[in-house]
């Protein structure tokens, strides 16, 4: 069984829990006393990840670190339909890689602001927020045009990809870092759609979506199961 070195309030660990929940992969969560124990910086933990970061997974001896890399691995290995990490479609996989890099940006700005507010990390909070707003503007614009094309997700396919899973947590928890989503209505609608993906799970700070209207897809489009 996959072991996930996990911290309940970590956005990057949540990305893995969300992906595994959607792919219906069972795993064992190993709690790391990230805060206030700083266990991920301990000598013991650095044997697992010399960078001293979580998440890390151990899939039957195969150890992998870095949130977005793990997402790629999980989707490539555990999604037999190949839709979450669409390697067979060169354009789609290019877009997926592009938006996975974008997610590094949202993590380093929006989620960094959250760490500053919640746990007092020493970041330039003004710069984090400003950069996060810049990225959210681009994403809102992008998702609005996606809707115009009858598409629901970050990449241009009909099905969500690991890029949606990589970006969603940074966006949905942005308000904890003092970054309002009032000005990003398309981004807000997209978060509703992600919440209605079959197998969706929450983390502290995220509320589940209400029920979609039965027998109707509405604007949300088809919801994959």
């Amino acid at each position: 069984m996959i072991k996930l070195y996990d911290y309940v309030l970590s956005v990057n660990c949540y990305k893995q829990r969300l992906m595994m929940s959607i792919l219906d992969v069972s795993y064992q969560s190993i709690p790391v006393d990230f805060y206030p124990g700083w266990e991920h910086k301990s000598k013991e933990f650095k044997k697992i990840n010399p960078l001293g970061h979580i998440p890390v997974i151990d899939d039957d001896g195969y150890v992998l670190r870095d949130a977005h890399a793990i997402l790629v691995y999980l989707a490539a290995k555990y999604d037999p339909t190949g839709r979450w990490y669409p390697v067979s479609d060169s354009e789609l996989i290019g877009e997926t890689a592009q938006w996975m890099l974008f997610a590094e940006g949202t993590t380093n700005t929006a989620s960094a602001a959250r760490l500053h507010v919640n746990l007092g990390y020493d970041f330039d909070i003004g710069a984090c927020r400003e950069s996060a707003h810049r990225l959210f503007r681009v994403l809102d614009d992008h998702l609005w045009f996606r809707e115009q094309q009858g598409r629901n997700w970050v990449c241009s396919g009909e099905h969500p990809t690991v890029a949606d899973i990589a970006i969603f947590p940074d966006v949905i928890l942005s308000e904890e870092g003092g970054i309002s989503r009032l000005d990003y209505p398309a981004l807000r609608r997209w978060t509703d759609r992600v919440k209605r993906i079959g197998g969706f799970t929450t983390m502290p700070g995220i509320f589940p979506a209400g029920p979609a209207r039965r027998g109707r897809s509405g604007n949300a489009g088809p919801i994959p199961d």
Binding site: F145, Q149, P185, R188, R189, G210, P211, A212, R213, G218
Partner: protein, 590 residues
């Protein structure tokens, strides 16, 4: 001098911003708004704040009929914004006056228009009325609205027909019209012209949203090109405006006033009221809901009809002067009307006969505000609903609500025959949980009830409504089957017991230090009213529970059918319309 922005209509969202089951987060003139479309299409524009603890409703859940607050699950009804359910007190009907602040909403040109206190109608724009309006992507701008409007006049764009035809011919853009909150521009190139109207929504003193609408919808093949063309141009304009605004002093943000709740709500007492018919409704539809049962759909004249909960009833004041109570059959949040079902009583004293024979579609009736003495708990995994004949009416509203909330229930409907089952369209939707018991004799009914109530399973509450003998049987069997009194809820249509009003006694009102005599032939209710004590009432025959008062001392002589046996035994409440005193004196908590 600009007119007061608080009395103007402003666009606050666009139609695509309100997909089903979504809550849009908006802001106008410093006030945050929660905007949501119900399943019936109605657009709700509310203050973004739950009345209970101030939590933003934009993080709440739109279930299509009600908006549910994330903090304590309070539910507010579509249209009225009245609170329909407070989960912490599942047995209580929320005070009707718990009502969120609402703002008007009009959909026009693909935009949702609202305002703090707008006068007249939203602006009519001739060029859009003549054309085929086409909404652009809305663009929030971090700059004062006046500056945004000023700079929008310099926006340049190409007409729909000529985009990307870079043949060197000059585009000419002219300002056709400008007012306080919009600017209309026309772009011509060759023989092609497109007019664009840009409305500026004042979000706050330093923030605005540009909401652009073109006068002509481009062909499907050019739709995205046109949208991208404007989006690119407007983003450039936005960036320039924001750079300019950054050099100006930052204006103070606007502070929206928050209304205080009423004194009654702050203290939580019951609102006193007499037997009033404060609403006027029109009969929008009258139909045969079943054999001998007429359905009435009542629509409001003017304002929205007040909020109600499953189990609520209204007093209907009939043209012949009689007053009758009817349960609302529809589920809160669904549609803007009240639905009632009226059975023609063979021994009618004129109430049901009048409604069946005299009242027609289009007639106006006076009704009371809804009252709920039969509130539905929504905290049971399974609920048993038992209807006898026309007693189906309140249970229909309950069944629909439980179904919507995903809670289990069984609806047992005892009726003479299939032709006597009312509201077939609704029953069809409830089909999987509906059990019909047709043409049973009283003995067979008792046996069926015994069987239903013997298997409790997950069910923890029973709600029953129907003719008095059947209710008595249900209560008896439930007690025998071990259902505690407080889990069996019932509503009588009327009190068929013989009222003995011969006794005379005194009542002391503890809060007003008043002592009054009640003589034979008088009711407590009438004596109270004669002495200027306002008392709400409805059926005035001990069936509905509206005139209930707490008893502090003395022994009541209960003659109502509203209280259950253990409640009667406790002797701490009394129905003032029929019940009296066994002791010489009653001390009442009024």
């Amino acid at each position: 001098m600009s007119p007061d922005p608080f009395t103007c209509w402003h666009p606050i969202a666009s139609t695509p911003d309100l997909p089903e089951r979504h809550v849009f987060h908006g802001q106008l003139l410093g006030r945050e708004l929660a905007v949501w479309r119900a399943d019936d299409g109605f657009v709700n524009v509310w203050e973004n704040r739950c009345l209970h603890r101030g939590v933003r409703l934009s993080i709440g859940i739109n279930d299509g009929r009600e908006l549910k607050c994330q903090y304590h699950g309070w539910r507010y009804s579509n249209r009225t914004a009245g609170c329909t359910y407070i989960p912490a007190h599942p047995a209580d009907a929320p005070a009707r006056t718990i009502c969120n602040r609402t703002f008007p909403a009009v959909e026009r040109y693909g935009l949702i228009w609202s305002g703090e206190d707008p006068t007249g109608d939203p602006p009519a724009v001739a060029v859009l009325d003549r054309g085929t309006p086409f909404g652009l992507r809305n663009l929030p701008v971090n700059a004062p609205p006046e500056l945004v409007l000023e700079r929008l006049a310099q926006y340049r764009f190409e007409p729909n027909g000529r985009l990307h035809y870079d043949d060197g011919e000059d585009v000419s853009v002219s300002v056709c019209h400008r007012d306080d909150w919009s600017v209309t521009l026309a772009s011509s190139q060759g023989g092609s012209t497109t007019t664009a109207v840009f409305f500026v929504q004042p979000v706050d003193s330093g923030r605005a949203v540009i909401r652009g609408v073109l006068d002509e919808t481009p062909g499907e093949d050019r739709r995205l090109i046109v949208l991208h063309h404007h989006n690119t141009g407007l983003i450039q304009l936005r960036d320039d405006i924001e750079a300019e605004a950054a050099r100006l002093p930052t204006p103070e943000p606007m502070v929206a006033s928050i209304d205080r709740v009423s004194v009654e709500l702050a203290e939580i007492p019951e609102a006193p009221a007499g037997r009033q018919a404060s609403l006027r409704v029109r009969v929008a539809r009258k139909w045969e809901a079943a054999d001998q049962i007429a359905g009435f759909e009542l629509e409001s004249i003017g304002a929205e009809l007040p909020t109600y909960q499953p189990g609520s009833h209204i007093d209907v004041h009939l043209p012949n002067g009689l007053i009758r109570q009817y349960s609302l059959t529809n589920e809160p949040g669904r549609g803007e009307t009240y639905r009632i079902g009226v059975k023609l009583e063979p021994d009618s004293r004129g109430g049901s006969r009048c409604l069946h024979e005299v009242v027609r579609e289009g007639d106006v009736l006076a009704i009371s505000e809804p009252r709920n003495n039969f509130p539905l708990r929504r905290d049971s995994l399974c609920t048993v609903l038992v209807a006898g004949g026309i007693g189906i009416t309140p249970l229909l509203a309950m069944a629909q609500t439980l179904q919507k909330d995903g809670l289990g229930y069984e609806l047992h409907y005892f009726a003479q025959s299939e032709q006597h089952m009312a509201f077939g369209d609704v029953l069809e939707r409830l089909r999987p949980s509906l059990v019909a018991h047709l043409g049973l004799s009283p003995d067979e009914t008792a046996r069926a009830l015994a069987e239903i109530l013997a298997h409790r399973g997950d069910a923890s509450h029973v709600y029953t409504c129907g003719p008095a003998p059947m209710l008595e049987t249900t209560r008896r069997i439930a007690a025998e089957a071990g259902w505690p009194d407080h889990t069996v809820h019932f509503e009588y249509f009327k009190n068929t017991t013989e009222i003995d009003d011969s006794s005379s006694f005194q009542i002391s009102l503890s809060r007003s230090a008043l002592t009054l005599g009640v003589a034979g032939g008088q009711t407590i209710l009438a004596v109270l009213r004669q002495n200027g004590v306002p008392m709400p009432s409805s059926c005035e025959q001990g069936a509905c529970g509206t005139c209930e008062v707490a008893v502090l001392e003395g022994e009541p002589d209960h003659q109502d059918v509203y209280l259950n046996d253990s409640e009667k035994e406790r002797g701490d409440r009394i129905m003032t319309c029929v019940s009296r005193a066994k002791s010489d004196r009653l001390v009442l908590d009024i």
